[in-house]
């Protein structure tokens, strides 16, 4: 008897599911792009965090959105899962290509080994790899950034603005990439004030990448630095940077954002304390790549987005850079001219 009841319940559930399915099955086509069949199809493979991380992935997403609007391309997005095997990344790229999105943007250096394999297996596909030169080929373009140059400028800004001659740096995860930020920041600050004290803290060690998405850790680290006498802190820590802004607001001290202009995206109460942000224009790089495809001008190889190419820089929202802008721009020119060579390692 009881078994009967279970069976009955199951079949009802099955019917319900089937019913639902048929109603949704018709919808996907409706929402899809209705533009011309010839529209270029771009696949986007994000790193862990994906769209909505208010930092690195979002910058890439912004470039994609702009391409969608301005160039009328069709897009498909997929995001990495934390702790996934290498084969999953490879599979993601391949499935995007199989689904017809044969030109792909791979966001983040973790995709390098997969890009190498997938690009070789699909010679017709054109792939852009952001933040890495580990995979190269006739159909791969490597989009890299001179983060140390942009960080040099905000480091100089921090030293010029600091009254205590004591500043801080918060790195999300202790990787070579984030060390470039630290190296530039330190060099910039020391160029202004050789004796300046710089507190450095990394939130997590690999393979624990939570330091890129944990505002609580960022807040604790920032509070500690402010208490130790720092009055400007720069966080290159993705989503954890939100914690810095909270701490800065509470302590009424200065903070520096990263990747995008965070004085525009931080909570309104924190915005006056975000004096500038180091800009890493992943959106520009992504858009440029897609544009090169639509124009049939794809060129393989490494493309470096540095100060000269306007691929990195600092933001001036809020006007707090106005008094030192001349000095910063002088440094900028010296870097562009090669008179200052910013180290990429601390």
């Amino acid at each position: 008897m009881r078994r009967m009841r279970v069976a009955a319940a199951m079949s009802v559930a099955a019917l319900a599911l089937a019913g639902c399915g048929s109603s949704t099955e018709s919808t996907p086509g409706a929402g899809g792009a209705s533009s011309s069949a010839k529209a270029l199809k771009i696949g986007m493979a994000y790193d862990v965090g994906g769209r909505g991380d208010q930092s690195f992935n979002d910058a890439a997403a912004a470039g994609l959105d702009k391409a969608k609007k301005d160039l009328g391309v069709e897009t498909k997005e997929a995001t990495a899962v934390n702790g996934e095997p290498e084969s999953a990344r490879e599979e993601r790229l391949q499935q995007l290509i199989d689904a017809g999105y044969k030109d792909v943007v791979a966001v983040g250096f973790a995709y390098a080994p997969s890009v190498k394999k997938v690009a070789a297996a699909n010679p017709d596909a054109k792939i852009s790899l952001i933040d890495s030169t580990d995979a190269t080929g006739p159909n791969i373009v490597n989009l890299t950034f001179a983060e140390q140059q942009g960080s040099f400028l905000v480091g100089a800004a921090a030293a010029l603005k600091s009254k205590t001659a004591n500043i801080g740096f918060i790195g999300g995860v202790n990787t070579d990439l984030i060390k470039k930020f630290e190296a530039g920041y330190t060099a910039g600050a020391k160029a202004v004030k050789p004796a300046i004290k710089i507190q450095v803290k990394y939130l997590t060690q690999p393979p624990d990448f939570s330091g890129f998405g944990d505002p609580a850790k960022g807040k604790t680290a920032a509070e500690g630095m402010y208490q130790q006498g720092a009055d400007v802190i720069y966080a290159a820590a993705g989503g954890s940077g939100g914690g810095l802004f909270t701490a800065a607001t509470a302590a009424k001290k200065m903070a520096i954002g990263v990747d995008s202009d965070q004085a525009l995206t931080a909570p309104p109460a924190a915005r006056p304390y975000v004096i500038t942000s180091m800009l890493k224009k992943v959106d520009v790089a992504t858009f440029d790549f897609i544009k090169s495809l639509t124009e049939g001008k794809f060129v393989a190889g490494t493309k470096i987005y540095d100060l000269k190419a306007n691929g990195v820089g600092y933001s001036t929202t809020g006007g707090q850079m106005d008094d030192i802008k001349a000095k910063l721009d002088a440094y900028k020119q010296q870097i562009i001219d090669g008179k200052i060579v910013v180290p990429a390692k601390p």
Partner: protein, 371 residues
Amino acid sequence: MKASLRRLGLALAAPVLALVVAFVVTSIVLLLAGDPVVAVWTQLLTAPRPRLIVGIINGASVYYLSAIAVAIGFRMNLFNIGVDGQYRIAAFAAAVFAGQGWLPGPLNIFVSLLIAVVVGALWAGIAGWLKFSRGVSEVISTIMLNAIATGLVSFMLFKVADSTTGSNVTNTKLLPPSSRVPGFALISGTPNKVYGFVLLAILVGVTYWVVLNKTRFGYDLRATGRSETAAVASGVNVKRMVLTAMLLSGAAAGLVGMPLLFGQDFSYGTTFQPGLGFAGIAIALLGRNHPVGIAFGALLWSYLEQQGNGLQITAGVSSELVFIIQGVIVLAVVIAYEVVRRAGLRMEQRNVARQLSSDQPGHHLPEGAPV
């Protein structure tokens, strides 16, 4: 014959029940979230392509080793949460040694495996020794050791790193080509190969079964796990067993990263797959600590992961949905086994009662006898 068939039926009932529950619960979640139910199950349940089959087998071989390491502890009533730290520190040590290429090909591989086993065992041994000498709970100590392993490995990784300029990945020196384990072209229709170290996983599974079921040591281990007092009464040195079991669990954990190291990554770096130890705990639960059960568990885990990867592309649903399915399956399996066990018990009691009353028609059961 009939009885054994029934037992088989009961054994299969629990996992099937768990899968059905997982199917229903996930569907409800999808419905509540307004996601396309049919598209999701179509993606997850269509036969995987050859490329994916290779990925499933490869993933499963790694999970299998991890789950066996956890299961060794479980059989002894030890909760080794530290497999995660043990496999990472062992893989790092093996990668550093193997990358030097001091020894010729196969010998280099063999000695590196040995190093991984020893390092894994020693790291787990710290928790074992703490329990042995001070009675520290292995749950606490292994969790702490995981954190320490993370810090230690990344500290040392930067010391020995072989980072080429422009690269954002930090890793140990690449293995010389002669020390890489070639894969098998088992599946036709794809250039991807199955890890050669799938054999290692099978070997470890067989050894686990033999040692546990065919040796005195295995008997002692199982006895201690079932009832410590009974084990003491039969002359087992429980404290020593704790230490030994922990060392063995760690030794198996040391092998977890080896298929990845020798078959795919060829170095240990910041992108080496993390979290395998925790997956192992779930899979050991799923497989009821049985070597064959764990194999099915590992394959299922890997299947879901690989098939789930395309969810975003084909169904527009986050791949993290797979975590929900995996979680529900583990939970449902634990409950289902208990339900089925009770059902089996009732069935047996009824059978015995029926037999008793039919064998001896003159004698009736005494009043109040359990039926």
